[in-house]
Amino acid sequence: MIKIEVIVRPERVNVVIDAMAEAGCTGFTYQNVTGRGTQEGIEVFTGRGGVSHRVAVPKVCITSVTEKSKQKKVVDSIISAAKSGDEGQIGDGKIFISEISDVIRVRTSDSGTNAL
């Protein structure tokens, strides 16, 4: 099993989750995070007409644990849901894949892929 962690723009959360569900993910956990990629940060108003440089911006991190076999399909559907326009834009996000050695469902004590 693999854990897929996706960092996306907050306004894309629902679209990305829907796309991942379509591609076979059965569960999701997401949370607000703050992030900074190679993008240089954004300019923000600091209240009174001043402009300030903000290096990190709000993002949402979506985590889903799923079978390794679904990796390609899920990644592709994430990309098409999270990308801004055809070209994509800086800040569109990243996907991190890692191995999960076990999953346990608390309710039933099922483990492994049965618990997904």
């Binding site: 108003f45 600091t46 209240g47 007409g49 440089h53």
Partner: protein
């Protein structure tokens, strides 16, 4: 005072008291979340400390007889202030003494030692606020009497000099001596914009008491003061909105709130003296001057964190000078010059006295062992809420 005026002055006093928590939220929303309790407490504690100072000796120093420069201790603990009129006046004025030093705190928030601040409150109200209040509003005061003419002195209806310019100059002194915030160059976003607008709204609401109460009666002057207060605030707010759109393309909520406060500041000295036309003019001037004052201050190294000088200092100066220009019958536009000159003298006198004595007080507090102006680096990094108050503003880790 008849019962109608007592009714109005009671509620006007309550309104002015409410402005201090309003200011607490206005300022509190503008700082980072780790300093919001600290910033709110700078204002809130002023209600506690200055109420006591005022009742004990502050009122007496400001209004207890005396000569051109300072009152006496004759009314210590308000002894001798027994009738309704006298007590009502003492109460109403108390609310002004409470909010004035609270205004200053916008300059030094996020890094000023809270214990030192409590001592500062006592000294500043006694040594800076009470004297200037006496000069301008007590019948023996030298600015009230006037310097150049025989027709009376400076016109300051509700506190352009006494409150706003005074606080604005002390703000410069404090910001300069306490130094810049660590990390300020990374850019600091207001942590809670709804609080900023809540605070500005409470300020606006309370300001009706501040200005329309300053005639000490429920009469036509109060009504006009109410009308011009609202008009000037609305205009200055829209000037900020428009200038913000020109410079940034968006309608900044914090900008609108700031513009409204600037307009309220500017109309303060003028409220009982100008009509709708004057209010419209002052609103435009206030908006333009204070907006660009903030932009200019941003280019300096002075970390007047919430732009107390730009909003209250500059806004107050525009108002005080503008009163000399637009005041019905006696202003420059009516061909008279006395009021104009007297007001400029009052502005300068207030600026110099407030700056110098505030600097002195702060310098002394800085070297007293156990006090000192500046929080330690780690206290500042941790946030003053934890460091000085032992509290977290928002607890949301969901447990229990």
């Amino acid at each position: 005072m008849d019962s109608g005026s007592i009714a109005w002055m009671l509620i006007a006093s309550a309104l002015v008291l409410l402005m201090t928590p309003g200011l607490a939220f206005f300022y509190g929303g503008l700082v980072r979340g780790k300093n919001v309790i600290s910033t709110i407490m700078y204002s809130f504690i002023s209600i506690g400390i200055v109420s006591i100072v005022w009742v004990l000796w502050g009122y007496s120093l400001a209004f207890g007889g005396g000569g051109a420069f300072i009152g006496t201790f004759d009314n210590f603990a308000l002894s001798g202030v027994d009738d309704a009129d006298g007590q009502m006046f003492a109460v109403f004025q108390m609310m002004f003494a409470i909010i004035t030093p609270a205004l200053i705190t916008g300059a030094f928030c996020e890094r000023f030692n809270f214990k030192t601040y409590m001592v500062f409150l006592v000294l500043w109200v006694t040594l800076v606020y009470a004297p200037i209040c006496h000069w301008v509003w007590h019948e023996n005061g030298w600015l009230f009497q006037g310097v150049i003419g025989t027709e009376g002195g400076a016109l300051d209806f509700a506190g352009g000099t006494v409150v706003h310019i005074n606080a604005g100059m002390a703000a410069i002194a404090a910001a300069a001596l306490v130094g810049r915030r660590r990390n300020v160059d990374r850019g600091i976003e207001p942590h809670n914009v709804p609080y900023v607008i809540l605070g500005a709204s409470i300020l606006w609401f309370g300001w009706f008491g501040f200005n329309a109460g300053s005639g000490l009666a429920a009469n036509g002057t109060a009504v006009t003061a109410f009308l011009v207060t609202n008009t000037c605030a609305a205009v200055a707010m829209m000037v900020w909105v428009i200038l913000g759109m020109i410079h940034g393309g968006k309608v900044n909520g914090v900008g609108a709130a700031s513009g409204a406060v600037a307009g309220l500041v500017t109309i303060t000295p003028a409220a009982g003296f100008v009509g709708v036309g004057g209010a419209l003019a002052l609103g435009v001037l206030s908006g333009v001057f204070t907006f660009y004052a903030v932009q200019l201050r941003n280019k300096t190294s002075l970390d007047d964190a919430l732009d107390v000088f730009a909003i209250h200092g500059i806004g107050g100066i525009v108002g005080a000078v503008g009163t000399g220009i637009f005041a019905t019958s006696v202003g420059l536009i009516y061909g008279k010059t006395d009021a104009f000159i007297e007001n400029i003298i009052a502005v300068l006198a207030t600026m110099i006295y407030s700056l110098v004595v505030s600097l002195l007080i702060l310098k002394i507090l800085d070297v007293i062992p156990g006090l000192g102006l500046r929080s330690s680096e780690s206290d500042e990094d941790n946030g003053l809420d934890i460091s000085d108050h032992g509290e977290r503003a928002y607890v949301a880790d969901g447990a229990d």
